[in-house]
């Protein structure tokens, strides 16, 4: 697992301020050693030695699953960068990708974590979603893709807070927190220095717990965030069977899955996360279980799905002993 380059993804709806954020970060230490890939050159010139433009080209995997669509152009751009790095032509220690504003970031994440040629050389860093404090609520109402962008994020940056004012900012923050309780939310104005956004590897971080059962606002589009918990260690095979079945049938509506699980036979906590049908390679965390908190805990952000039904299914499949039944279920 060592030696893989971290890749961060910056997403957000049109006009949210992704390019502006990147431009400001490029001046600071966070991106000093990064190669940056952008979907389109905006009016704000990004002045960076390792800036590459990605052209539109989408390749469908054999499965035909939209969520597993691999960005052929992205793969080519990343492989080009890695090749030049290997030949000593350029040097960088991480890659940042800015998605187009109308895109669900899932295919980008899928390319990094699933592509056979890239997944051994790259590790997902953070998905960062920029939400405009002024127009974010309207955008969430009008464009479902903006909901998917925010749900997929590890960190949400609320931009233009100085223009929006405190009350509007608090409202959009509450809505985003209800939608994605597992994400850190950062407020950004025009004058402050951008915060350090880039996450380290997940096993560098302490185990954090999320609360997802008391939303303070309505996320919209029928989305809910809820928590799956288990006090006993999970059997990895049974958990994998259940989750693969759930994502195969309902992956388009599972906007985000993130948490720490306790697996039978494994001492360390294991971090697991996914976006729609794309699941990252699970990781052992270096951090030990905090005293009294040795239990599995997964935040699920889903739409059009009954959380209670998911919890019952999780318990029936993955969290209690199963004896093979003999009778067929009627079609």
């Amino acid at each position: 697992m060592t030696g893989r380059l971290p890749v961060d993804v910056v997403t957000g709806f049109l006009g949210a301020g992704k390019t502006s954020l990147l431009r400001r970060l490029l001046k600071g230490p966070e991106l000093a050693g990064a190669a940056v890939l952008v979907n389109e050159f905006g009016e704000i010139g990004l002045d960076h030695l390792l800036l590459e433009r990605i052209d539109g080209d989408v390749v469908l995997l054999k499965s035909g699953c939209v969520c597993c669509t691999v960005r052929g152009d992205l793969k080519a751009a990343v492989e080009g960068l890695l090749g030049r790095r290997a030949r000593g032509e350029i040097a960088f220690d991480r890659i940042a990708i800015e998605t187009t504003g109308l895109a669900d970031p899932t295919p980008v994440v899928a390319t990094i974590v699933s592509d056979a040629a890239l997944k051994h050389r790259l590790a997902m860093g953070a998905v960062i979603c920029v939400v405009d404090a002024l127009n974010g609520a309207e955008t969430l109402d009008a464009h479902e893709v903006s909901l998917r962008q925010a749900a997929a994020a590890d960190r949400i940056v609320i931009s233009k807070v100085d223009l929006a004012g405190a009350e509007t900012t608090r409202a959009i923050e509450a809505r985003l927190r209800a939608l994605n309780p597992s994400a850190d939310i950062l407020l950004l104005d025009e004058t402050s220095a951008p915060p350090a956004l880039w996450l380290g590897r997940s096993d560098d971080r302490p185990i954090s717990r999320c609360v997802a059962d008391q939303p303070a606002a309505e996320p919209g589009h029928g989305a809910h965030a809820f928590l799956l918990e288990a006090d006993r260690p999970l059997d990895w095979a049974r958990f994998g069977l259940w989750l693969s079945m759930l994502l195969h049938r309902h992956g388009g509506d599972i906007l985000r899955l993130k948490g720490v699980i306790e697996i039978e036979g494994v001492t360390a906590p294991v971090a697991i996360q996914g976006v729609q049908r794309v699941v990252h390679a699970p990781e052992h965390l270096d951090a030990a279980w905090p005293p009294g908190e040795r239990r599995s805990s997964l935040v699920v952000i889903a739409r059009n799905i009954d959380p209670e039904r998911v919890e019952r299914s999780f318990r029936a499949f993955a969290s209690s002993p199963i004896v093979a039944p003999s009778c067929a279920i009627p079609a």
């Binding site: 259940w242 499949f317 199963i322 004896v323 039944p325 067929a328």
Partner: protein, 99 residues
């Protein structure tokens, strides 16, 4: 390095094994057994076959699958209908069998 991480680099995310002491063949047999608890209500069964598995129906249809990653698409093609873990009948049957 435990088997969980060791296997992740190659196939589907679910392919890793938690127990480094189990042989690959024993792990495949156990996984097939776990899968069969969920497949039996559909009249399907999974058996290890070399480094892969064979999914079979009661009518004799068969399909080779690599693991859990492509098990469910194959099962649905064979059945001609969805395998839904949120189906009330599926959950209720597993709840009864787990008591």
């Amino acid at each position: 390095m435990c088997g969980l991480c060791g296997s992740f680099a190659h196939g589907h995310w679910s392919d890793g094994v938690a127990s480094a002491s189990a042989t690959p063949a024993a792990e495949r047999a156990r996984r097939a057994s776990v899968a069969n608890a969920a497949l039996a209500p559909y009249g399907l069964a999974l058996k290890p076959w070399g480094t892969r598995y064979v999914l079979a129906s009661r009518t004799g249809r068969q399909s080779v699958v690599d693991g859990f990653g492509n098990l469910w698409p194959a099962a649905e093609r064979m059945l001609g209908r969805a395998c839904d873990p949120l189906d009330e009948a599926v959950i209720a049957r597993l709840e009864r069998s787990g008591r």
